[in-house]
Symmetry: C2
Subunit: 372 residues, 2 copies
DNA sequence: CTGAAAGCGCTTACAG
DNA sequence: CTGAAAGCGCTTACAG
């Protein structure tokens, strides 16, 4: 006569204690593998547990120990391959140490992020890993420390706060990508990001609220300025989310003074730019050179394959989890601000800048089409 | 004098009760928003909570209510875009209803899956959504029901068990893809999957342990058989994980009787096949037609763009979460075995079968190369 | 090594 | 509507 689903009562320590004819404390000690228990009693208890199909209640255990063996993670969007890969890195390291991971998406919205952080804290996660939607609006993150739990920032820093973080040297990476284009003679180089910049257009001196994007813009600006390009900011576009990547790309490609090279801040943007270039009848890299951040496999099989800035994304997540675990265990932390390098992977989407005044459109007639 | 991190004691119901000069029960009622509380008392309690920065302990709450507001999810690998998208569907629906999601990767290993299920059950998740690594080895899933909690299978069924499930009609989809190729005159059509089939080669009558793959093979076999193709099983390859997709693709493409069309069981396989075809100097679809399961954005920008079987992956996850929630709430469930259709998206990677004996290699010299 | 008791932070009958 | 008490399933001092 099995109990109805939902009404079934779980087997508890008390049941095992009764079956093994010992006290609850002793049964619990054998079951939980702590304290002192004689071998004879232990095996009696474990036999009873086996017999009754005992399973510990992790919640009850956490209530006492104050440790939930769970790490909370807040990312922008798990559908984004960047976060999916980072998440795998986090999970692998966490699981290996006996921790589970609660995943939440913020959709890069600060309010949603705050709500997620609060709920995760309420659920007593032992640590929190978050990719903050804004490096400027980070006040709500103080709740993590106030609750006495470690916080590790993923991919983005928090302005003026010394939280642990694992990031990529985006400034250097962006500068390197820009230098690569400058070396090929490009002068009109665009950078496109979908990070929402309130001001619409970017003006030097502006604060860009997502540190990763801010760093990339700084790197591009730096390289451009060093090369003596006038008004280096004019082709930096941070309005691609609002206006749509295609519209922005068309602007840049079709204006009076069209760019000859584009740096895409992620591979989704690169994909749209790639298509837009095609649609306009232009060729890569004949008319336009293209570099993308991130290296999903497809970038290797397009025609031409894309030159990319490859970030060690899995490692980023793994390092964040490692840091969190160290903090949880109260270990000494050598480097509370881990910074990874990103490599420039040269493939075939970068070429010499087309000569000014060359009949670009004509050239592209034969080269720039899909051939289905 | 703030307490040291780690040693800080959280503010509890008892603290609030003391501050508001009411009993713990009353404070808890106001805080937890249940039972009866007078407006006057409620506002006094809430003011005290605000003042002391009270946050409920969700674990303690769960201990009493028996509900953790958490759903456990076990997928093969969150790095796989299929699961990343499904996960987003699950999260969105769950979060909207106030549930969090614990994510675990099984790496398609039954042992790891079982361990994950047990841990999630111990953590008192209110329901479990799992993509079982094997449709045959599912005994461990009985633990979910034994614990009185709902189980929903994602993407794959469990042989002979009536668990709730959300799947795609893979058989029909595979048959449709095959028919598309047959209609173009193809006779030697390959199907490649990385699902590990112990037997190595596929022989009609074999049991394929992952139901999604089994259904696809059945669909291909059915279409091929209906078309009167002899030995339709000869180009069905289930050894791609062990041997490597490229090696398998080369076999199929370079043998005495090379195939003229390939159906890839996922987009990662398609990517390698795509590259292999290129490497061999063959053209798509001139020499070889290619259809992939799944529709990641990159399949639209290759040259040529790929014809794909598009599965409603996000919806798959969302439906699984909806089902789980219905079961949690004890609602009536109309359809405990939700089956979605997958559409064939015609793009440009399918063309007429090349004439037998045509100088395939010569043709491809000029057509099949990357042009960087 | 073992047990009786108290406690983790809540919720839930049960009185009043 | 409010409160005192018991309880959720464990762990943790404290005795013995």
């Amino acid at each position: 006569m099995s109990p109805r689903p939902g009404s079934r009562r779980a087997v508890t320590v008390a049941d095992i204690a009764r079956a093994a004819k010992v006290s609850k404390a002793t049964a619990a000690r054998a079951l939980g593998d702590y304290g002192q228990v004689s071998d004879a009693v232990r095996s009696r208890v474990l036999a009873a547990a086996e017999e009754l199909n005992y399973r510990p209640n992790a919640l009850a255990r956490s209530m006492n120990t104050g440790r939930s063996n769970t790490i909370g993670v807040v990312v922008g969007d798990i559908e984004n391959p960047f976060f999916a890969h980072a998440m795998r890195g986090i999970s692998d390291v966490a699981n290996r140490e006996g921790y589970d991971v609660i995943l939440t998406n913020s959709d890069e919205d600060v309010e949603a992020e705050q709500a997620a952080v609060d709920v995760l804290l309420d659920k007593q996660v032992d640590a929190l890993i978050v990719a903050p939607a804004s490096s400027a609006r980070v006040g709500h993150l103080a709740a993590v420390g106030a609750a006495g739990r470690p916080l590790v920032l993923l991919d983005r820093r928090a302005d003026g706060r010394p939280y642990d973080s694992v990031t990529v040297d985006n400034r250097a990476a962006a500068a390197r990508a820009t230098a690569e284009l400058l070396a090929e003679g490009h002068r009109r180089i665009a950078f496109i990001s979908t990070h929402d910049h309130p001001a619409g257009v970017y003006t030097p001196g502006d604060t860009i609220t997502m540190s990763s994007v801010a760093d990339r813009v700084a790197g591009v600006m730096e390289a451009l300025t060093d090369a003596g390009i006038p008004s280096p900011e004019q082709n930096i576009r941070l309005d691609a989310r609002r206006r749509g990547v295609e519209a922005v790309a068309r602007d840049l490609l079709e204006g009076d003074d069209p760019v000859t090279a584009v740096i895409a801040s992620d591979s989704l943007i690169a994909m749209t730019v790639f298509q837009t270039i095609r649609t306009l009848g232009l060729s890569i890299p004949g008319d336009v050179s293209l570099i993308s951040f991130d290296n999903p496999e497809w970038t290797g099989i397009t025609t031409p394959p894309l030159t990319v800035v490859e970030q060690p994304i899995y490692e980023l997540g793994a390092a964040a989890a490692r840091l969190a675990l160290q903090r949880i265990h109260g270990e000494r932390v050598d480097d509370a601000a881990v910074v990874f390098d990103a490599d420039l992977l040269r493939r075939a989407s970068v070429g010499p800048a087309p000569r000014a005044g060359a009949p670009v459109a004509a050239l592209s007639e034969t080269e720039g089409r899909n051939t289905p």
